[in-house]
């Protein structure tokens, strides 16, 4: 374990419906690294990600952040991570700007202006539009814009590219690379072919493990 290791799991096991999805999983992730979790449908990618956020309890084993278990850290851990799951976490009744302001209030705001954030995810003209009347892909972009509006080290992303058109995919891929190059960390799943072969990207094939 190098001094840079921030996230590690010990003997992580997940059982659902009597099926052992994975067991004895030992992950180590250093600052500046990205982990892409792969595997066929139902192999437990979403479950793993939710365990890493602490939203779900592991059936065995533990997740450690900076050497402490995340249960003990609680709030301290959440200051440093951001999660975008299957659900967007976007309030339909609020406008795009209001949604981002909310995200900032709940976390640590980044230095960017919100207008610039919207500009970057190509939603600038929708700033005052209610999120409920965005299309599936636009809403996904708004969810991902949270990553820019707040400041966190570890991004945990469950199929971030769902519903995105190709231009948006390329844009976010660039963003992810910038994040890890700046010393951030990403754990993500995706069924899309991601055109990334950065030396810092590691892949975990959950399907093979099972």
């Amino acid at each position: 374990m190098s001094a840079n290791t921030l996230l590690e799991t010990r003997n992580l096991t997940c059982i659902r419906n009597d099926r052992r999805l994975f067991g004895g999983l030992e992950l180590v992730l250093e600052a500046g690294q990205m982990l892409v979790v792969e595997g066929p449908n139902g192999c437990g990618k979403t479950s793993l990600l939710r365990i890493l956020t602490g939203l779900r309890l592991a059936d065995e084993g533990e997740v450690r952040w900076r050497g402490e278990t995340i249960e003990k850290l609680a709030g301290d851990y959440y200051e440093e991570i951001a999660y975008v799951g299957h659900h967007d976490g976007v309030k339909r009744e609020l406008s795009c700007l209001e949604n981002l302001r909310l995200a900032r209030a709940m976390g640590i705001p980044s230095a960017l202006e919100l207008d610039d954030v919207l500009e970057q995810v190509n939603l600038y003209v929708y700033g005052e539009t209610e999120a409920g009347s965005l299309s599936a892909g636009q809403r996904r972009r708004l969810a991902l814009a949270r990553l820019l509006a707040t400041r966190s080290i570890l991004w945990i992303l469950d199929e971030p590219f769902t519903s995105l058109d190709k231009a948006s995919m390329a844009m976010f891929t660039g963003l992810f690379v910038a994040h890890i190059e700046a010393g951030g960390m990403i754990v993500m799943t995706s069924h899309h072919d991601i055109p990334l072969d950065h030396e810092r990207i590691r892949r975990l094939d959950l399907g093979a493990k099972a």
Binding site: T53, L55, G85, G89, E93, E98, L102
Partner: protein, 229 residues
């Protein structure tokens, strides 16, 4: 642009304001507990064939049962939509203590659904022929009692929000816990109508209020964490 991290108090106020804003955007939906309250109360004269003296006698009971049901029906709105769209996960993963954020949401819920009952209660009391001596007490019990309903109810919603049709299981969980509030509030009004002492009931409601303010947010936060899992 303020890019400072919010203090706990600021986060509380922010979330409270967000929920009030959402309520404003969904005006029609949030007006409903109030309307439900009114409708339930008007059902009774219809069902009972309206004998003025009988109605006046059961008025405190009816008003409070209606308040209870109205509060109960509006409970789901505290967390349901946040759960469905994934905002709840974001709240649980927030850098601030979840219990405080939960309290903000419950406060907003009370301001939107509990407080308005105060405004129509005098009218309804008049309609049912409640003696005027009892009316200030009706308002006082609503003021003290409805926050308790919201606070206790939040625990119930937090427990059931993960279930697809939690709505009605919720009532089973929550109603038994509401009964003490109902009993003390209704008996305070009755006593007031007779010009009797009501301090024991009021103290009891105050006790419930303080206990639930200090304990329920923790229980709710724990329950939410469990539901999200």
């Amino acid at each position: 642009m303020n890019v400072q991290r919010l203090s706990l108090w600021q986060a509380f106020v922010f979330l409270l304001r967000r929920d009030l804003l959402l309520a404003l955007r969904n005006r029609a939906e949030y007006a409903m507990p109030l309307l439900f309250f009114v409708v339930v109360i008007t059902l009774f004269p219809l069902a009972l064939g309206a004998l003025p003296e009988l109605l006046a006698r059961i008025a405190p009971g009816i008003v409070w049962v209606a308040a209870l049901l109205a509060a109960m029906l509006s409970l789901e709105s505290i967390f349901r939509s946040d759960f469905d769209d994934g905002s709840l996960e974001q709240i649980l993963l927030s850098a601030h203590p979840v219990a405080v954020l939960v309290l903000a949401k419950v406060c907003a819920h009370w301001l939107v659904t509990g407080l308005p009952l105060l405004l129509v209660a005098p009218l309804l009391a008049e309609m049912l022929g409640m003696p005027s001596a009892a009316q200030p007490m009706l308002l006082l019990t609503i003021l003290l009692g409805t926050p308790i309903l919201s606070l206790i109810g939040a625990i119930g919603v937090a427990l059931t929000v993960g279930l697809r049709k939690g709505g009605i299981i919720l009532s089973l969980l929550v109603l038994p816990l509401y009964v003490p509030v109902l009993i003390f509030a209704a008996s305070a009004i009755e006593n007031a109508a007779m010009g009797l002492d009501v301090t024991p009931q009021i103290y009891m409601l105050l006790a419930f209020l303080f206990l639930s303010i200090s304990l329920s947010p923790w229980a709710t936060a724990a329950a939410l964490r469990m539901s999200a899992g």
